[in-house]
Symmetry: C2
Subunit: 318 residues, 2 copies
């Protein structure tokens, strides 16, 4: 049995044929060309799915389902993207229906963060977990919850907004309009803001030298931290501590087996994970703290694998 996963991003559409054990058979990537509107983008998604299928040498009759991972808010059951702020014109777009018209294959829609979390649960860093929490650190902080092998979507498919949990009620304003969300303290964007504030305040750091040639990024700060720069290390320690505060809450709420951190920042290693674990151990309750493993994500194609995996699961449940 084969399923095609399609991961819709603002810049690129990725697609792949995925086998029943979560193995990626083929993968393709196309530009989204989002400025040409939803119908064009859906043509591109269908095209990417078709290319992935052909490269795998499969007939359409050999493809059991297509899974699409898209940014939300969305309605999974009805296959509708309600709004996608980063994709122009995407309002109440019937993605599943439109894909089915084009491909004649049953299509399932999933929130992209949930798809990525499901992939890590299925064949990645979260395998075997009775409860897995995923945080994706990027422009924002995305979230996903997998319990008893199922993504927890909530009745409106908008559960798992783990970036928008307050860790300081009167804290920094978040993009969502609330104050003190973990996203405002621990996204890559927040890390860069924190670094810039410290540099502006006159902190000495090897970061400054590199800024003559490059923009300030979370990756640059990680590089300098690994090279031993004190300020860069302090920045990662601070952000790791903020993440630890939020994760301590999740540990007390869920008693999870695994907390998986994905996104570029997760590759920073112990300079990030050390402070996270310290803070969680200091804050959360003992039986749950002993249980939980806080680990980096391991999949390169989580979006595609997860979209396919969720589709496969929903197909079996029908």
């Amino acid at each position: 049995m084969h399923v095609i996963g399609v991961d819709l991003g603002a810049t690129n559409i990725k697609a792949g044929v995925v086998g029943e054990s979560g193995n990626v058979v083929t993968r393709v990537s196309l530009e989204t060309e989002a400025d040409l509107g939803p119908d064009h983008v859906i043509d591109r998604m269908a095209l990417s799915a078709n290319q992935a299928r052909m490269e795998a040498d499969l007939e359409w009759s050999q493809v059991s389902a297509v899974g699409v991972g898209a940014p939300g808010p969305l309605n999974c059951k009805q296959g509708i993207v309600i709004m996608a702020p980063n994709l122009s014109g995407w309002e109440n777009i019937h993605v599943s229906e439109k894909m089915q018209e084009r491909l004649q294959v049953k299509t399932f829609l999933e929130n992209d963060a949930n798809a990525a979390a499901f992939a890590e649960y299925w064949v990645g860093a979260g395998t075997g977990a009775a409860c897995m929490i995923q945080l994706t650190l990027g422009t924002g902080v995305g979230g996903g919850i997998v319990m008893n092998g199922q993504v927890w979507r909530g009745p409106d498919d908008c559960a798992g907004e783990l970036g928008h949990v307050p860790i300081r009620w009167d804290g920094v304003r978040c993009g969502c309009g609330a104050n003190g969300c973990v996203e405002a303290y621990a996204s890559a964007t927040a890390l860069v803001r924190i670094a810039q504030e410290k540099l502006d305040a006159g902190a000495k750091s090897s970061i400054s030298d590199r800024l003559r040639y490059e923009p300030l990024t979370a990756k640059l700060v990680a590089d300098e931290a690994h090279a031993g720069d004190e300020l860069a290390l302090a920045i990662y320690r601070e952000v790791g501590t903020y993440l630890g505060v939020a994760i301590a809450g999740f540990v007390n709420i869920f008693n999870p087996d695994k907390v998986v951190i994905s996104g570029g920042m997760a590759q920073a290693g112990e300079i990030l994970f050390g402070p996270i674990r310290e803070e969680v151990t200091a804050r959360a309750m003992a039986p749950a703290t002993d249980r939980v493993e806080i680990v980096p994500a391991i999949l390169a194609d989580a979006g595609v694998i997860g979209a396919a995996g969720c589709a496969l699961q929903r197909l079996k449940e029908e």
Copy 2:
């Protein structure tokens, strides 16, 4: 089919015969006599169950199961209370086994906060919810999570510690050892502390008059708030806002249908619920905010009903 629910508290043991539709047929209450040790307390629990049975005019053969709700941490599957800080000598007590020895009826153990939440889901304020979150405001802040009709216990039966979610990382020290837990801001104990601080700082209030004859309690502050006292209203507004911060986080995490507030403070009505709802609406994401109803618990015997209900559910699953 009848089940007996037993609710083990530090002061009283409550027991009742509960029917399959969650109706309470009989109820009894005995003093716990906790100072006489675990085996004596378990004798009392068995006695209370037996009295409830006799009052209902049932033979033991007509009782399908016994459910015990007890403070944690505990191991539900094995029926062991690992530790009960308010019950002297309770360490690794095999409650289910000891009850079965005495009663010859299958006994199931449940965390008392989870039992109370399940009761509200089953026949109380949370009926019909795909996802219900319960907060119990008392000495501390207890929690319970019911999703798809099941209590979420986590792999170590220690999920649902919703009182120990941080809302201000560098905030007031909580009894659990961490800083800034919602319990440190929104329990009845915290409300009294906040009130005392304001009175000590010289705030004028009708509360002061009553303190010549009575101790300061959350109930007293609620009475004065309802009588129009400005300080008392401000105290409930402040505590409601703290609760709203935490609940906004739960709304973004779970996308729940219902958030149920129980404990004496929940009877304060709009002076508490108004500020909670305002803060949740201001903070949480729109589709989830539109969905969630934040309501007071309605059951007087939630502990007994929930212990019975969880036992009934687990009996059916066996």
